[in-house]
Amino acid sequence: MEDTQAERGISRRTVELTVACLFLLLSVVAFYDNYTRGAGWASDGPQSGYFPARLAVIMFLGSAFTFVVALRAKPEIFVTYEQLVRISKVLIPLIIFTIGIDWFGIYLSSALFLAIFMVWLGEFSVARSCVSAVAFVVATFLIFEIWFQVPLPKGPVEALLGL
């Protein structure tokens, strides 16, 4: 128990309150959209907004309740800064990878993602990482594009190779 006090991080209450607020906001947006479209009970049954509007109200009440409970909760750590750094070691490359798919297609991005991850976090040798990455990407290409004929996003490199 003494350890946890020494550890620093984002407080659980902050996250809990933020999430509850976001949900409150979302429920208001959902309610607005459904209410303006028609959320009544017409002669032949409920309109398209009937259920979503009511669900939005329930969600609002539920989130409000969570918000109040969180206000009175004991202080706890949601995630320590140390943990956050570790998570971002995956999350940030993942986001860059996803951006890369739009630009370079999925094959090149995947190869880079895998190779860099192996060298950086797995401390494999550069040669071994590159070979694994290329092998993986070629296998993926064969399975999806050739055997199952599922086209995946491609970029300028594939265009150059005429694939």
Binding site: R12, V15, E16, V19, F23, L26, A30, D33, N34, R37, W41, A42, S43, D44, G45, P46, Q47, S48, G49, F51, P52, L55, A56, I58, M59, G62, S63, T66, V69, F78, V79, Q83, R86, I87, V90, L91, L94, F97, T98, I101, D102, I106, S110, F113, L114, F117, M118, L121, G122, E123, F124, S132, F136, T140, I143, F144, F148, V150, L152, P153
Partner: protein, 505 residues
């Protein structure tokens, strides 16, 4: 007895070297398709379909149904190893399968899943063999009101009241329903909650959301604790298979119950996805170990797998007997039957006897072949957990991204997956239950539209939900299940009071 005779003839048709060869190829391809999220049974069948045009119809359908069995088996693999449901119907398998893998019992969990699948499928095939016409006509009794009642029953059996964090269960459920409602409303033709955004127009696909919520978020949680997988010490020899089998007989009740749930959902057709949730929910409700569900309980793997496969198999029945597809894969197969010049429907059983019974016989054989193949691969798959995390993690993420993309061929879905990965992480840390959200996303839209279709057909009156015995009893059972925890609580309290009263006297 006539059926048995026909079946024997069927075995005669199906048991050629060529057809067994097609079974093996089909099962292997099916496993590949099932393991990769995004590539599903329908994809695999649809892609192979044109290749079968030149084949004999019996061989062609054996190849395709074997692929279907393979996909059904394969869906469980990634669910258990990496918490990524390869198929929508294996979501419920992750609830206990993944914790088992984390405890080093991956091989056991895989064996359980495969065996349960086999038992479920067997139940489905037996149903098709003996009572096809009878059951088929029962399926016709299901109008929109009955559909709604079945979905309602699924929700009630899975969620139920009681337990803590009720407000969070409710919020999670509402989010699921609202996400399911985004996009084109099939009853009114309105666009709901799309805010004129072309990406929102398509709505949220269940698989993309699940890949994010389960797969990606799991990687984040694992990273939080450092660069390692927990399941490293997984035993990887085939003895595990035998040991696991030895433990199975004591779960006979769960297996039978889940099979019945699956058969029911496959025929009606609530579908394999709903069946897996319902099977899990009921097992949790009625098992003596119900409280431990979610922590790596044997029955938590057995129940959803048995139900899903019983349903997946039984879903082929309405297709053969009535010409209506019970599932997306069945829909593609239906197209295939037409292309091979076979007209599905009751007449198929009369006009194409050798085809139908060859197919049914191949269902028995295909499942046995499938079981042998997947059991043989258990050590292989369990060994994947020994690969260093720094290699497996990016590969899982790449496969998740490909899976998310292939669901609808949309790059935006990869972003959706990343975002739901973060949401899943926060949900787990804040104790928001994910399962209600997932269930609502899967069934929310269908539940709502069947409700509204029922009301439309009944001129706006709610009385449609107790207008006949079938829908009325379904609704009553659903409500009973919903309040079951409260009922059992009361009974227990009553017993305690009596016990204390008797000890006092």
């Amino acid at each position: 007895m006539e059926n048995l005779n026909d079946l024997l003839n069927g075995f005669y048709v199906a048991l050629s070297f060529k057809n067994i060869g097609f079974m093996i190829i089909g099962v292997l391809l099916g496993i590949v398709v099932g393991v990769l999220p995004g590539l599903g049974g329908p994809n695999g069948v649809a892609i192979l379909l044109p290749l079968t045009f030149g084949m004999e119809p019996v061989s062609a359908i054996i190849l395709l149904t074997s692929l279907y069995w393979g996909a059904l088996f394969g869906g469980a693999i990634t669910s258990i190893l990496f918490n990524i449901p390869g198929e929508a119907w294996s979501v419920a398998t992750t609830f206990d399968g993944y914790p088992m893998a984390q405890q080093g019992r991956a091989a056991e969990a895989l064996t359980l899943a495969f065996t349960a699948s086999f038992i479920g499928a067997l139940a489905g095939v037996i149903l098709i063999t003996f009572v096809a016409p009878l059951v088929a006509s029962f399926a016709l009794k299901f109008g929109p009101a009955e559909y709604f009642a079945v979905f309602f029953l699924t929700f009630c059996s899975f969620i139920g009241l009681g337990k803590d964090k009720r407000s969070k269960i409710l919020v999670s459920l509402c989010i699921g329903f609202l996400l399911a409602a985004v996009g084109l409303d099939s009853v009114s033709g309105d666009l709901r909650m799309t805010f004129d955004n072309p990406q929102l127009l398509r709505g949220f696909d269940f698989l993309v959301v699940v890949i994010g919520l389960f797969g990606v978020s799991e990687i984040l949680v694992t990273m939080e604790e450092g660069l390692a997988f927990k399941g490293k010490k997984a035993a990887i020899d085939l003895k595990v298979v035998l040991k696991t089998w030895a433990s199975l007989p004591k779960y006979w009740l769960t297996l039978i119950r889940s099979s019945l749930v699956g058969l029911w959902m496959g025929v009606t057709p609530g579908g394999a996805i709903a069946a897996s949730f319902m099977g899990y929910g009921l097992a949790k409700r009625f098992s003596p170990n119900g409280d431990k569900f979610g922590t790596g309980e044997t029955e938590g793997v057995l129940a959803p797998e048995t139900s899903a496969h019983a349903a997946g198999t039984a879903a082929l029945l309405p297709m053969l007997a009535l010409g209506i597809p019970g599932s997306a894969t069945a829909a593609v197969l239906l197209g295939g039957l037409l292309i091979w010049g076979l007209q599905p429907g009751p007449l198929l059983f009369v006009e194409q006897k050798s085809f139908v019974w060859g197919l049914i016989a191949s269902m028995y054989l295909g499942n046995i072949v499938g079981l042998i193949i997947v059991l043989a691969t258990v050590p292989l798959f369990a060994a994947i957990l020994r690969i260093p995390f720094s290699v497996v993690a990016p590969i899982i993420l790449i496969i998740c991204a490909i899976g998310a993309y292939t669901v609808r061929n949309s790059g935006f879905d990869i972003w959706e997956m990343v975002i739901f990965g973060i949401i899943g992480y926060i949900f787990k840390k804040l104790d928001y239950p994910i399962a209600p959200l997932v269930l609502a996303i899967v069934l929310g839209d269908r539940t709502e539209s069947s409700f509204r279709q029922a009301i439309l057909g009944y001129e706006g009156s709610l009385s449609v939900f107790w207008s006949n015995g079938l829908v009325g009893s379904l609704m009553v059972i659903a409500l009973l299940l919903l309040f079951w925890p409260i009922v059992t609580e009361q009974i227990a309290a009553l017993r305690r009071r009596r016990a204390s009263a008797s000890s006092a006297s």
